[in-house]
């Protein structure tokens, strides 16, 4: 039997040290700012390298940034490496897009979400030294020039948005961190040198590969030099340091930074520092988010094991906690519109623990538990922490995960090997690679170090398609015919007519979305190849091709459907009330929707309360929701990207469900104009009134294998429902049952006092919130205010 079965959970019982608390307090007291250093350096570099091959220009620009940017080591730090001239600040990446930044420069400190301070000096630098150079040269402008007008129009109507990679780098990647820990960047450079021998400079295409390989060498050497700058800085600080303990720490930092990432790491602290340099530089090279460390408990384990004898468990835990704090320090500035979809400075860096190894055995180890503890110790929003579950998941991992879930931090997210491994096999991964998957960003699976997954290629507004179906393709908000004419409501005599029109609209818009994605994709390949990142993803060096041009072994594009529950429930209400029961005709319903239910609250209540709803284990509603999702997925599956990969659908929203709802008229699910859509594959908030088991049964009816880019289910519990050991067991039972029935991902939130206060104010959104007391049951929103107050005052108690 595996020795891991006797894994001692006490290895992960170490709370945060004083060092952690100090650094965390400093972090929380810091308001993010904009830093212009990167923007200034890259602009200078681009001016210097005009006319050179693009890959070389990119590598030279990275070198200039790494050599020229301010570096510092903060008090108490043991892991070093900063993204900006000030902590928690965000650099600017003008090569991707900067028109919006120029327009919003004075709004950054005033906007409501994700505020960034910005000094007048920084504004001056950006206005004088940066923005003028990039006019017409940004990746966004080049991508726009490639797109069909119809695709731009549909984007303006917000049927979809390809905004993520349109304005930013792609990110959504996991580099081969383990390889760097094991072999060092010198080995990568040697590999690139060797690969050059394969290519013939007389062949024009192969010459391009030679340029690319040269660019990876420049970039890797720059990263090694960057690490050495920290060694110098640590030595300088050590020389001036009075405190003997800190002095020794600084000298140790200097020693480590001289060694890694150039050479192989040999100890746990060296491996963690090596990881951090790689992760940091990938984020400096491009501003794509969701750069995900993935299976840190696996690739870092040999180093943990090597240090076990010499490094006490609490010191190892502290290093992981420090890494957590470092990850929280990375930041990104987005345009104001995007902050509504991505609020809370999110970077979506996903670390996943547990699951199977490449041979199919349980992979849980001490680090798996300690990483969960790091989330509990730091209690900050990053990184996203996930846990893989399979038949053989160690009970200690399941229990530790449930304990962290119960803390109400929203982590970990649970992923189902039993669904995801077959889903990845169906997309052409080898069995070993499929078993070795990790998660990118929110819920997107791929094998790290081998994949360019473009997982957030676009968000697609499924509720908007319902609206356009009822409006014969005409968008009333922007006053334009954006879709095909598929029939007016008076022409729809049967429910099948409605479904046919919905399918045709879907076919048209998914096609346009994939076109738009592909044009953005082409632009990335031409304008913003990433030599350093490419050198750490197989098989870019071997193929002599950047990641952006198809160098990876696996290539995908994954656009997400948002609002499955709204599309499903809207169609269900039409079928049930307009056709089955004839309680209202479709043209009458349409008229009421056009007026946003003005004067027809009663009809809205009928739509809500007399039509079955997805999420209640009611086959009538669930089957229609499944079909409305399948129509989307089938269309997405038809397309291919310019990197030689396939499109694969997902069903999750990040937080796009809020702005997407903002542009959709009233819908037949009873949703008022402009209000948010349902999140992920979750039922509409307040409509899942049959409890979590029914929700889980409903959601499991979706085909979670075809949605191989991920689905997302959020579940909320009152603390009372998860109290004690039995509460943890019940949480595990819900997860297990969902997963045995084909679920993909689930994540738990424990309701706090604030949620209940919110529910008092917005009862419609919280109709499903149940108060669970022995022998009694009521919905929270059905209680009198005084009783609600009573419950609110008792929420944080456990009885």
């Amino acid at each position: 039997m595996s020795p891991k079965l006797s894994l001692d959970p006490s290895v992960a019982n170490h709370g945060p040290t004083e060092r952690i608390e100090k650094i965390k307090a400093r972090f929380l007291a810091t308001t993010p700012e904009i830093c212009a250093e990167r923007a200034k350096l890259i602009t200078e570099s681009y001016k210097e390298t005009e006319g050179k091959p693009m890959s070389i220009r990119r590598a030279k620009a990275l070198e200039k940034i790494l050599m020229g940017m301010s570096i510092y080591i903060e008090d108490d730090e043991l892991i070093v490496g900063n993204q900006c001239s000030m902590p928690r600040s965000a650099p600017v990446y003008p090569e991707f897009s900067c028109e919006w930044l120029e327009a919003e420069l004075d709004r950054l400190a005033k906007r409501t979400a994700d505020v960034f301070l910005i000094s007048e000096d920084v504004k001056q630098t950006l206005r004088n030294d940066v923005f003028p150079y990039w006019k017409g040269k940004t990746n966004q402008e080049i991508a726009t020039a490639l797109m069909k007008q119809e695709a731009i129009d549909a984007g303006n109507a917000v049927v979809y948005t390809v905004g993520n990679y349109y304005f930013n780098g792609v990110g959504h990647i996991s580099a081969n961190y383990g390889k760097v820990m094991r072999e060092g960047l010198n080995a990568v450079i040697a590999e690139a040198e060797k690969a050059k021998e394969k290519f013939d400079f007389a062949d024009a295409h192969q010459m391009k590969s030679l340029h690319f390989l040269e660019s990876t060498i420049i970039a890797n050497k720059a990263v090694i030099a960057f690490a050495n700058r920290y060694a110098d800085e640590a030595e300088r600080l050590a020389a001036a340091e009075k405190d003997a303990t800190r002095k020794a720490e600084l000298l140790e930092i200097a020693r480590i930074c001289r060694k890694v990432p150039a050479q192989p790491a040999e100890t746990f602290p060296e491996a963690v520092q090596s990881f951090w340099f790689i992760h940091l530089v990938i984020q400096l090279e491009s501003n794509g988010h969701s750069i995900s460390p993935m299976r840190f408990d696996q690739y870092c384990y040999p180093f943990y094991e090597a240090s076990k004898g010499s490094l006490p468990a609490e010191k190892a835990q502290e290093l992981l906690d420090l890494m957590w704090l470092k990850l929280n320090g990375l930041n990104k500035v987005r345009d104001e519109n995007s902050t509504m979809a991505f609020a809370g400075y999110p970077m979506f860096m996903n670390i996943i623990v547990g699951g199977q190894d490449r041979e199919g055995k349980d992979a849980t180890n001490e680090l798996s538990l300690m990483l969960l503890q790091a989330a509990a110790n730091t209690k900050l929003y990053a990184p996203s922490l996930s846990v893989r579950i399979h038949e053989g998941t160690a009970d200690v991992l399941y229990m530790k995960s449930a304990e962290v879930s119960r803390m109400g931090l929203g982590v970990p997210a649970y992923f189902n090997d039993r669904t995801i491994i077959p889903a990845l096999l169906s997309r052409g991964l080898t069995l070993e690679d499929a078993r070795d998957y990790g998660i990118i960003g929110c819920v997107e699976p791929q094998v790290g170090g081998k994949t360019e997954g473009w997982h957030d290629a676009a968000f697609f507004n499924m509720a908007k398609v319902i609206e356009l179906t009822l409006n014969n393709g005409y968008d009333v908000r922007i006053g334009m015919q954006v879709g095909p004419q598929t029939g007016t409501v008076t022409e729809m005599k049967t429910f099948d007519d409605v479904m046919t029109a919905y399918s045709k609209q879907m076919e048209y818009f998914v096609g346009l979305m994939c076109h738009a994605d592909n044009m953005v994709d082409l632009a990335h390949g031409q304008n913003v190849p990433l030599p350093f990142l490419s050198s750490l993803v197989e098989d870019c060096i071997g193929r002599g091709k950047s990641l952006q041009e198809g160098g990876a072994i696996y290539n995908f594009s994954g656009p997400q459907g948002v609002g499955v529950a709204n599309a499903g429930d809207a169609l269900t209400a039409i079928k049930k009330l307009c056709f089955d029961e004839k309680a209202i005709s479709l043209p009458e319903l349409k008229e009421i929707l056009d007026k946003d239910f003005e004067g027809a609250e009663e009809i809205r209540q009928m739509l809500i309360n007399r039509a079955p709803k997805y999420g209640n284990d009611d086959d009538y509603a669930d089957e229609i929701a499944v079909e409305s999702a399948n129509i989307y997925c089938r269309e997405v599956n038809k397309y291919h990207n310019p990197r030689g990969g396939q499109f694969q659908p997902g069903l999750y929203p990040a937080s796009a469900n809020v702005p997407f709802g903002g542009v959709v008229e009233a819908t037949p699910d009873g949703r008022k104009k402009g209000t948010p859509l349902a999140d992920g594959v979750s039922p509409i908030g307040g409509f899942d009134i049959s409890g979590p088991t029914a929700t889980v049964n409903s959601v499991a009816k979706l085909d979670h294998e075809v949605t191989s880019n991920g689905t997302l289910l959020n579940q909320k519990f009152h603390p009372n429902a998860v109290k004690g050991n039995e509460g943890l067991r019940n949480l595990i039972a819900i997860t297990e049952t969902y997963f045995k029935n084909g679920g993909f991902h689930v994540q738990y939130n424990v309701i706090d006092r604030n949620t209940l206060l919110e529910a008092q104010k917005k009862p419609d959104d919280y109709r499903s919130l149940v108060v669970r007391v022995a022998g009694y049951s009521a919905f929270f929103t059905a209680l009198d205010k005084s009783l609600q107050d009573d419950i609110i005052s008792r929420t944080e108690q456990v009885f």
């Binding site: 009663e602 007399r610 669970r772 022995a774 022998g775 009521a778 059905a782 009783l787 009573d790 108690q797």
Partner: protein, 322 residues
């Protein structure tokens, strides 16, 4: 078949049908405080007791009945127009809400059918055992995963003995763990036949003094206490539930006597202290009935813990809240 479908069927409310049916007023999935694991809780309507603190007053009557939730009312007045029996009227302009003459109501269900906002409703639906089983089976996988099952509660489940027996026997036949949540106020021979099909009994001790018991619940505790001993004698696992009502049954003497009695029960798993809560209060009003404990303050957490210790000191396993 699911419960909501049944609830939305307003056209057959009064029909008991030809096959034997039970009157159910709610089915709650993911019940987690009522017998271990994840359970489905089936609430049967009708109770021979009338406890002042009852948190499910809609369970008391053995007939379907009208309930009005003023929070949900959108004042469309459709119910008043639709009521053929003239049982509904609007209060005068100075009052909001609805006046229901429950004597005139024929339970035709039409007011509720067209009350889309869910303000007016008819509590109670007749279900056959096969219909009920279809609902229960939907969460089968959760029971298996969590060592859960089905719990019949009320009202008083044993007040519909034939239906309860048939449902329990069928659940057992299907390998589903069965529990009942009962007052144990039921004739001994009927109780014994029910107990043959039960894996776990959850039953109350409301007061040890017979006169007080009568005053608080309307019935004597003799039969109840005898039945509790019977459960134990039959070797059926048992959890005693002590609804803790400040000033009514939390005297030192009553708690001592309760502990003395509980110690005789050989199959006792635990004593569950259920602290008084006011969550049922508004339901009394919605049913047009008076709540006798208005203004009664629940025990503080400290008091509940202190009382819990009285039992644990005697070696009784205690859980707070079930």
């Amino acid at each position: 078949m699911n419960w909501r479908e049944k609830v939305l069927d307003f056209d057959h409310i009064g029909e008991r049908g030809e096959d034997f049916r039970g009157l159910v007023f709610d089915i709650q999935k993911f019940a987690i405080h009522d017998g271990g694991g994840i359970r489905t809780l089936v609430f049967l309507k009708g109770c021979p007791l009338q406890c002042h603190w009852c948190s499910n007053p809609e369970s008391l009557s053995a007939k379907p009945e009208v309930i009005f939730v003023s929070n949900n009312c959108i004042a469309c007045n459709k119910c008043v127009d639709i009521c053929a029996a003239g049982a509904l009227r609007q209060p005068d302009a100075t009052q909001s809400g609805l006046i229901i003459d429950r004597n005139l109501c024929t339970l035709c269900g039409q007011c509720a059918k067209f009350c889309y906002a869910g303000a007016i409703n008819i509590i109670g639906r007749y279900l056959s055992v096969p219909e009920l089983m279809k609902i229960i089976e939907r969460d089968r996988k959760f029971y298996d995963q969590s060592n859960g099952g089905v719990t019949f509660s009320g009202g008083e489940p044993t007040a519909q003995p034939e239906f309860l027996l048939a449902a329990l026997a069928e659940a057992r036949r299907r390998g589903i763990h069965t529990a009942i949540e009962t007052s144990s106020f039921v004739a001994r021979d009927i109780f014994v036949s029910i107990l043959q099909n039960v894996d776990l009994v959850l039953t109350d001790i409301k007061h040890m003094d017979d006169a007080e018991h009568k005053r608080l619940t309307g019935v004597s505790n003799q039969l109840i206490l005898d039945n509790l001993l019977t459960i134990s004698r039959l070797g059926i696992p048992l959890r005693i539930r002590l609804p803790l009502i400040p000033g009514l049954n939390d005297s030192a003497q009553n708690l001592e006597e309760t502990a003395d009695f509980v110690q005789q029960l050989k199959t006792l798993q635990s004593l569950d202290i259920l602290p008084y809560h006011r969550l049922g209060e508004m339901k009394w009003r919605q049913l047009g009935m008076e709540y006798q404990l208005s203004g009664l303050a629940p025990n503080t957490e400290l008091e509940v813990d202190r009382i819990g210790r009285l039992f644990t000191e005697r070696g009784i396993t205690v859980s707070i809240g079930g």
